[in-house]
């Protein structure tokens, strides 16, 4: 995201003008724009006009509209952001108070005005405009008969393709069926790879699976690339990395990101930090269960006693339409930071954030054990 103009007071009103550039930025914009803010952007609207003859004529007009946000929709597959609200900028075609839906598109600037720029919003803005943190990794996660293709960006993981084939187990004469089914499966994965992975954008492609499926697939990939002269693969042979995972399901992605060979590549990115933080949480839970807690109630109690060392929280909690709830979490984050703790705001679009969201979305590693948390109902 490119920041064109910034005119705001911290914890006060103000506006920014930004230009989203890639898919990731849509996600940031989605997190930035809340109900009650106003957004100014260029848009197209169908306008009805009464002709002199009495007939009616529909025309598409390009307009600049500012709307008061009432709802924000994000489509994670297509990376499209739609904002619905009432118009507040008088215009010859659109009256004040008429509804309009803005679609935020890449490379089209928009102005966002907020009454209060809280610390979370500023964090998101700063992250969105930091170009260095991008991971841009493609991961093919597979097991025999099931494969997922993920693209991992700065703060979102998108599932680009899911391939599922039934592969028979070996049963004597059926062994030929096994081989051909496996071939077919690999072919499907190969097609998905060619379709979705652009080596100009992606830093590297990680192939992960339990057992030897990954080796088999890489061999197949290179062989086929040679045979069919697929230049993009032949040239980028060195950017194919193998990693181990325990299954082909999405939640195994965190094991892949945790593997040392992959970790080195994405060391400083947000995705990697999240994976590490979550791993710390789990290891604390297994070593000293009283020094880790999860769930809003428990975390709150722990915070009252100033026990939180590391707070893990997903961004979806800030997305809450109830403003007071958002305020509550923002305050929690601020006060943990003030008391010397660290805070990891997980992107719910990453697999680690997804997992945290399953664990109620909030968790904490504590400074000292609080065994009596056991007795407090969650």
């Amino acid at each position: 995201m490119k920041l064109v103009r910034r005119d705001l007071v911290s914890n006060g009103p103000g506006s920014v003008k930004v230009v989203p550039e890639e898919d990731d930025d849509m996600w940031h914009a989605y997190n930035l724009i809340c109900v009650g803010d106003s957004v100014l952007a260029v848009t197209v609207r169908k306008v009805l006009r009464e002709m002199a003859s009495g007939g009616r004529d529909a025309e598409r007009v390009k307009l600049k509209l500012e709307i008061k946000v009432e709802s924000v929709d994000y489509d994670k597959e297509g990376s499209v952001l739609r904002i619905r609200g009432k118009n507040i900028l008088e215009n010859e075609h659109v009256k004040i108070g008429q509804f309009h839906t803005l679609e935020i598109e890449p490379h089209r600037p928009f102005v966002l005005r907020k009454d209060i720029w809280d610390s979370m919003a500023l964090d998101v803005l700063q992250q969105a405009c930091d170009p260095s943190a991008s991971a841009d990794l493609a991961v093919i996660l597979m097991q025999e008969g099931l494969a997922h293709l993920f693209l991992i960006g700065k703060s979102i993981t998108t599932t680009r393709s899911r391939i599922e084939t039934s592969i028979p187990r070996k049963h004597g004469p059926a062994i030929a069926g096994y081989e051909s089914a496996l071939k077919k499966f690999f072919e499907n994965v190969l097609q998905a790879l060619l379709k979705h992975i652009d080596f100009k954008v992606v830093r590297c492609v990680v192939i992960a699976s339990p057992g030897f499926t990954k080796d088999q697939f890489r061999d197949y990939l290179l062989l086929e690339a040679e045979r069919r002269q697929l230049r993009s693969i032949i040239e980028n042979k060195s950017r194919l990395i193998l990693a181990h995972s325990t299954s082909g399901y999405k939640h195994s992605l965190k094991e892949v990101l945790d593997a040392p060979s992959v970790m080195n590549l994405i060391k400083d990115t947000k995705a990697a930090q999240e994976v590490r933080a979550l791993k710390d949480f789990f290891s604390m839970l297994s070593n000293d269960a009283a020094r880790a807690c999860y769930g809003p109630k428990h975390v709150e109690v722990a915070h009252e006693r100033m026990a939180i060392q590391t707070l893990l929280i997903t961004d979806s909690l800030f997305k809450n339409s109830d403003i007071s709830t958002r305020q509550k979490y923002v305050k929690l984050v601020d006060s943990v930071k003030d008391s010397g703790g660290t805070v990891h705001v997980f992107s719910s679009m990453h697999v680690s954030g997804d997992q945290l969201a399953q664990l109620t979305g909030i968790a904490a590693i504590l400074r000292f054990p609080l065994p009596d948390l056991e007795d407090i109902e969650m």
Binding site: K170, H171, G211, T246, S247, G295, Q355, Q358, L359, E374
Partner: protein
């Protein structure tokens, strides 16, 4: 019929019931309570025509006379030893009501009805007034008297008019297709029979168990009085009173009872065409990676002549060429190029051989850590298992695992939770440790302790030292002096023959979990492999393929690559289907009877036992769940309660986390729907395994199916 066999039957019933309630919760304590099996498995003689019948049949094949049921009541002493007498006793009775019902033939029953009454009167004249109920019963049904009809257990259940009415109501409510009138119109005894069948329903609808037992009490008086029994009814009633039906157990069974009442197996299913043939045994071969499972299987097949000399020669030559001479035997099992290349098994291989009393289906599982999912989906059908252990120094220890769980341990736990009770521990590669007795005893001590903690009973674990490569103790007793000097036990093949044949239930509606979908020329377009859990199949049977819900017709059935006309519960078969698209048949689905579809659900309540895990289980933990051959990603949505290990009672509600060795009731939400049944309804479809980060974290049973998908 010998008393031994009776006791055997009784033992099985007891065990079944016991497991119903306690599986997954108290694995340690479970088997301690059981009687030692006292007889070899086998056939029973019909008391009328002396025909030999299979253990699993409840009535004689040729004449339809019921098998003697004295066993059910003949076990006072055994039951007391069980320490659970009230509960299991009642359930045994309940079960005897349910189990005997569906294929009742009216023919032999009419005579005994009158006969019995006379007999009873006679026995009283002889001065048997003080006789206990069981004694009476024995007299009635003793073989010399030429009738072994177990009408007696039903007498006292003859319902009161009220019961009949409510039973009729529930019948009308539950199965509108069968009007009550028709059942009543049929011969008297059949009508009676139906009512007896319906009785469990009726009891459940009764709000208090006390009232239901009271009903029974009265019934007994009425029915017995009509036969001039004098004092006897009181004794019977007392006896009965002690058998007070446990309401809860009835409730759990209600569904099962329903099914039995509704489902009438067709005649061809019950007729045993293959009289005298061997019964099938699914034998899983499990163990740590490189312990020699495939080699052991290959060697057995070769010694039994299942692999031709030419074929074996070919394997040896190829293996040598690859520089892996020692892998020759395992190549008989590992057929894919990939597996041979790497020298490890990846998926479960299936092989067949005949022992003296079994048609054995060998399921050779992969031992590598990464392929445990394959092992689970391939070997859940096992009836018994061979756990192969590497005796050589270092390898055995690796299998047991130092800080984390080795596959010897993990497999043993899994196999136990598949419901396998009998296990043969084959201590392989004894040649590498010079057939040392000390090493064998050391392994026995170490592993034995662990197996006990898994819930294997000591008497159902057989230990055999052997060497697959050197052919010691496989199909014949050891020839090497170093081994035979201290080991006089049986060889592996004899040990397989000494296993108890598994119980088969043909009388329930068909259930065949699909293990595998194969495109094979001999089988036609779509063929599925799997083990029939219940019921029977023949060519041209209509089956419902779940979860897609399509109807298909069976074209051919193959067993061990030979086509056969009929397949019954317990058989491992390949079934080719017609009238269905291949895309609708997936491994993990189930073939079932069109009128009795299995449930398909994506939210389940499980009772689990957490294994030795490092990371605790939280609300929201992401896991892979395995149920029979299906696997699906899932997450824990609720931890309802923590259970006490010993008693199985709820020790606390809504705990924060689950750690190793705890048992609990949890709710999981699956990403996709799978075919599943409650454990009490169908065990094979009611067992669940949770895995995360490459190891099995919990095993358990499905206690409730929460969300049904139409």
């Amino acid at each position: 019929m010998t008393r031994d066999v009776l006791r055997k039957l009784n033992y099985e019933l007891d065990y079944d019931i016991y497991v119903e309630y306690d599986d997954g919760n108290d694995i340690e304590g479970r088997l301690v309570l059981l009687d030692k099996p006292t007889s070899k498995p086998g056939l029973w003689h019909c008391s009328i025509c002396t025909n030999e019948n299979d253990q699993s049949l409840l009535s004689c094949d040729t004449c339809g006379v019921f098998r003697d049921s004295t066993a059910i009541f003949d076990n006072d002493s055994g039951e007391k030893a069980n320490g659970k007498s009230n509960n299991s006793r009642a359930s045994v009775m309940a079960r005897s009501l349910f189990a005997l019902s569906p294929h009742w033939l009216p023919k032999p029953a009419i005579i005994p009805d009158i006969f019995l009454a006379k007999e009873a009167a006679k026995s009283h004249e002889k001065g048997c007034i003080e006789a206990r109920f069981s004694d009476l019963h024995k007299i009635f049904t003793s073989p010399q008297r030429n009738h072994s009809i177990n009408i007696a257990p039903f007498q006292f259940d003859t319902p009161s008019p009220d019961d009949i009415v409510s039973a009729g109501k529930s019948a009308a409510r539950n199965f509108p297709k069968v009007p009550l009138g028709s059942t009543k119109a049929s011969s008297n005894i059949i009508g009676k029979k139906e009512i007896v069948n319906l009785l469990p329903d009726n009891e459940i609808s009764n709000s208090s168990s006390a009232s239901s037992s009271k009903d029974n009490h009265i019934d007994v008086r009425e029915s017995s009085n009509s036969r001039d029994h004098g004092d006897a009814p009181q004794i019977i009633a007392d006896d009965l009173h002690r058998l007070k039906l446990d309401k809860k157990s009835n409730n759990n069974k209600s569904k099962k009872a329903h099914r039995n009442v509704q489902y009438k197996p067709e005649k061809w299913m019950l007729s045993d065409q293959e009289e005298g043939t061997l019964s099938q045994l699914n034998l899983a071969v499990v163990g740590h990676v490189d312990s020699g499972k495939s080699t052991l299987c290959g060697r057995i097949l070769q010694l039994l002549g299942r692999i031709s000399k030419k074929q074996m020669h070919k394997y040896e030559k190829e293996a040598k060429e690859k520089g892996k001479g020692s892998f020759a035997y395992s190549w008989a099992m590992d057929e894919s190029a990939e597996e041979r290349e790497r020298g490890i098994t990846m998926t479960v291989a299936v092989a067949y051989f005949d022992s003296k009393i079994f048609r054995v289906v060998l399921l050779d599982s992969p031992g590598h850590k990464d392929f445990v999912p394959n092992m689970i989906s391939g070997a859940t059908q096992a009836d018994a298992a061979i756990l192969v252990v590497d005796a050589s120094v270092g390898s055995f220890e690796a299998g047991m695992g130092g800080h984390n769980v080795g596959q010897t341990k993990e497999h043993a736990q899994l196999i136990r939770s598949f419901g396998v009770e009998q296990i043969i521990v084959a201590v392989n590669k004894m040649d590498l440790v010079d057939f040392s007795k000390e090493r064998f005893d050391f392994i026995k001590l170490q592993l034995g302790h662990f197996l006990r903690s898994c819930g294997f009973k000591e008497s159902s674990v057989v230990w055999i030292p052997l060497s697959a490569m050197e052919n010691q103790n496989l199909v014949a007793t050891a020839s090497d002096v170093r081994l035979s000097s201290w080991y006089q036990g049986c060889c592996l093949l004899d040990a397989i023959d000494s296993l108890k044949p598994p119980h088969r239930d043909v009388s329930k509606p068909l259930i065949l979990p699909i293990c595998d979908v194969v495109a094979s020329h001999s089988l036609g377009q779509v063929a599925v492999c799997g083990k029939l859990e219940f019921g029977a199949l023949r060519a041209s049977s209509k089956v419902l393929v779940m979860p897609s819900g399509d109807i298909a017709t069976v074209r051919t059935i193959e067993r061990d690559y030979c086509s056969c006309s009929i397949a019954k519960a317990g058989d491992n078969v390949a079934v080719s289907l017609q009238g269905i698209d291949g895309g609708h048949v997936m491994p993990g689905g189930v073939l079932c009877h069109p009128d009795f579809p299995v449930t398909v659900a994506s939210s389940l309540e499980l009772k689990v036992l957490v294994l030795d895990v490092v990371t605790p289980i939280l609300v929201g933990s992401q896991v892979e769940i395995h149920i029979h051959h299906a696997k699906e990603a899932a997450r824990v949505t609720k931890i309802l309660s923590l259970l006490d290990q010993k008693t199985g009672k709820v020790s606390r509600n809504a705990p924060r986390i689950l750690t190793a060795r705890q048992s609990a009731i949890i709710v999981v939400a699956l990403d996709g729907a799978v075919c599943v049944e409650e454990f009490s309804v169908c065990r094979a479809l009611g067992r669940a395994f949770l895995r995360a980060s490459g190891s099995t974290i919990a095993v358990g049973i499905v206690t409730r199916v929460l969300e049904l998908e139409s």
